[in-house]
Symmetry: C2
Subunit: 245 residues, 2 copies
């Protein structure tokens, strides 16, 4: 099995404000709702020079796969994700025109403040996850398919606590949590029912604190409650929870 290279790539998502494109004319008022975004890096060499791609790089002989994902992510974007999970391994023989490359792809989440630390420039940018092609054109390699798969997995795996703590801060209002779910699922949710099901799931708990400063009744702040030792809620037996930052 010589002549085969092992790489890692990361689909790293953050929830950032961004105007949604509407079917109406361009003059419509900007819809400043939260949307999922991901950072892309511009390739400077062939193949696919100048095209945008997922952050990633080669695996070194002594590091874990997840460590390689972390390292390459920090080298290219300075991001250190609070959540990291293996997504899938892509290994079709002609994925890369330069030779056989097998890529282990990870999905990661970062909070908005950390996301803002990324130095956006000529070769690094954020793009809305659901309209990549219109925003940055075709991605390099098979990265567009990879992003689609990551989004599909996120939608089918949303749990109240998991993405809360990693896309939002430690404390958050239920409205913020609902906005996260709305952005992920792409549809509005009933505030009353969302509140009940989220609280009833036991994965978030109320704190003493309340949000202040808004032009309406202050909202209570909640905290994510991780699944207790025994119950591996949705994760494999050998890994009772996703890797944390």
């Amino acid at each position: 099995m010589a002549d085969l290279e092992l790489a890692v790539s990361t689909v790293i998502l953050a929830l950032l404000p961004g105007s949604c494109p509407t079917a109406a004319g361009a003059g419509s008022p900007a819809d400043e709702s939260l949307r999922l975004h991901l950072p892309l890096v511009r390739r400077t060499r062939e193949p696919f020079a100048q095209r945008w791609a997922l952050p990633g790089g080669w695996v070194t002989p002594d590091e874990r796969l997840s460590a390689a994902a972390r390292r390459t992510l920090e080298e290219t974007t300075a991001l250190r994700p609070s959540y990291l999970e293996q997504l899938y391994t892509f290994g079709a023989p002609r994925r890369s025109p330069t030779g056989r490359v097998v890529s282990v792809v990870y999905t990661a989440l970062v909070r908005a403040p950390e996301a803002a630390d990324v130095e956006v420039g000529e070769n690094v940018r954020w793009a809305p996850a659901d309209t990549l092609a219109e925003t940055v054109g075709d991605l390099a390699f098979d990265h567009a398919e990879i992003v689609d798969y990551a989004l599909w997995r996120l939608r089918t795996k949303v749990s109240y606590a998991a993405i809360a703590q990693h896309l939002l801060g430690e404390l958050f209002t239920l409205a913020e949590l609902r906005h996260v779910h709305e952005a992920v699922l792409g549809k509005p949710l009933d505030p009353a029912n969302f509140r009940r099901t989220a609280v009833a799931s036991g994965s978030v708990e109320a704190t003493e604190h309340v949000q202040t400063g808004a032009a309406h009744r202050p909202a209570r702040l909640y905290r994510a409650v991780l699944p207790p030792g025994g119950a591996t809620g949705g994760y494999p037996p050998w890994q009772s929870r996703p890797e944390l930052g």
Copy 2:
């Protein structure tokens, strides 16, 4: 990233009759219900010589990962699975004492008749999936963890049609399908409710044929109905269904 080897391994499951170990004394009548079994191969070299392991081998430069899984599976057990799906990629630096080995692990299903073709011998055997340690001792490498993860994923992903067509034949009775689910989930299911939910799911459809020869009323035979082109029922956008044999 030199000095790194890429392997594939396969957890391949079949539904075979096997006596369930009961808490009562050994003299209790054998419970000949169906249980999930998987084939293991005995290692003939170090490391872990004489220990049982998952079938697998090295990836060659020009084949797809799934093709490598198929090839190594056939070379070691002569099995050609009717269903093959990527499970996870294991790449901890010290998984193998001989050096860095990254293993892309696949899960596969075979029907009982094909499973019977395996030439069981000194170096190939079937073992019940849920009591591996008691039956064959510790597996080589981290293969025991891998099997646990495969079983966990199977339990959390059972859909009526998918596993039906691949663990049973093309035609099957609802009782047989229910036995499959009972074996996977490890608990009895209500026949009446199972029938309703299975049929209502739209993933199985009745045929004209009926089973005959049993000492009771003949059961109608059903067929699995694959998800139609549009709706990717439970599979990623770039792969609307699992790989078929």
